[in-house]
Symmetry: D2
Subunit: 144 residues, 4 copies
């Protein structure tokens, strides 16, 4: 039985990502998820560019987001993510919280903003489904 491995990634909300209600536009959370995912792969010793060089691609086949609270310009959002296996897929869960508010400053208690998941398959350059490579298996099995 492995030890849970949890990764974190922080992003300061830029003006570019905020809509006219003053809130982060909903599609941008998928970008934050991707940034967090890339950071996790780097820390796990398999930066995504090196995967692609080996001919391994990890396209998203499914995404889900639940928007709990709006985030605002200049908030600091921290995304925690956790990997697991879902059949042949890599299943990644995300939990994005506000730790610093652009207007109220650092928060005593981080606020839950969005949670969601993405599912990925391992593909070769010509689109064949591959068995996940060792480093990815390690990530996928890290929580059980």
């Amino acid at each position: 039985m492995g030890e849970a491995r949890i990764f974190e990634h922080a992003v300061r909300v830029p003006y570019a990502h905020v809509d006219k209600m003053g809130f982060v536009y909903y599609a941008n959370y998928l970008v934050y998820f991707e940034m967090a995912r890339a950071e996790m792969l780097r820390q796990a010793g398999v930066p995504y560019p090196s995967l692609e060089e080996k001919g391994v691609f990890l396209p998203v086949v499914e995404s889900f987001c639940e928007y709990l609270k709006p985030a605002a310009y200049d908030d600091l959002l921290v995304t925690r993510l956790q990997c697991s296996r879902k059949g042949a897929r890599l299943h990644i869960e995300y939990d994005t919280r506000r730790t610093v508010s652009g207007t109220r400053g650092p928060l005593a208690e981080p606020e839950r903003i969005v949670n969601g998941y993405t599912d990925h398959v391992c593909l070769s350059r010509d689109g064949k489904v591959l068995k996940p490579i060792t480093e990815l298996l390690r990530l996928m099995d890290s929580d059980g």
Copy 2:
């Protein structure tokens, strides 16, 4: 019992939306969904700016996408959408297909690219949940 009302919206994939695999980056489908949604509201006689002027907001509380096939630069993607009611929520389903390929030209048979949904609540400016206004109820009940 109402008649099903289906709306369509087309978008030509710009270079800005295509990633280095040559495919539409996954977050952009949520943008296409939003464009289709706005067009639907306009056609239903409740353009979103007029809703906001009345103090009615329709934030997304949940989103889901299933990525079936990648789309490429200069493809013409047509999104059909259909509304229904899900408790107090407005539930919108999207079916995005490629009708013209940027490299192969018009397709005899449109190809399914992505399907998904978004859920929305009606909110007042100060964040109170509102009963959906008549025009929205009509959309929500349009399929049965």
Copy 3:
């Protein structure tokens, strides 16, 4: 001496592109410029994907925007563009106007929103500067 060739492209401003002041975020005009450029190339018989297949790339080497008036959600923006030659470069000028306002409806007199330009060079896949192909030369020389 050639005849001026002017191309037009319209875009309905999506929620995704509007910032918290309620205005189109400034980087998005470069996306609208690209969409208009792609449409121009298609109408000129050299759709960009076909250029890339021939191994001709048109990267931007310079961009400039002057923001005259803000545009808002649901505005209809029409971009006119015009090509010319600037040494070995393809020089494209853009003039983006609001023809329909999201809140005020169709405008008797279109309003100037942004103007700007982009400069491009013709590159081969391995980054060598190429002599522009005939179809591009025709565009470049169209206004004189």
Copy 4:
């Protein structure tokens, strides 16, 4: 005579920002400029949200980019910026360099990727031109 004040901001290029040539899409540099600008204002003691609360807005009235070299996925890009006064305008110059390559690792010599500028005016909420506030004047006069 003041001391030159130079600010820096780093960004790791996400997949979302890379086009099918494998390069950062040209509009994204304006987003990086904005992120760097926000960081500068924060460090100068005038975070942008606090400006807006005081009723001071800094819309961009002009932008310019010169694209020297393409940047790629997972590159680390560092933007240095410097403010000055240009009549009533705040003039900001940006110099974006690659310090770490996504594929080659840390670079002995940072590579120049893009340089550019943005010009801003100080506006009140209702669109009147304001005299720059003290903190901004200090930034504007910092290099002379």
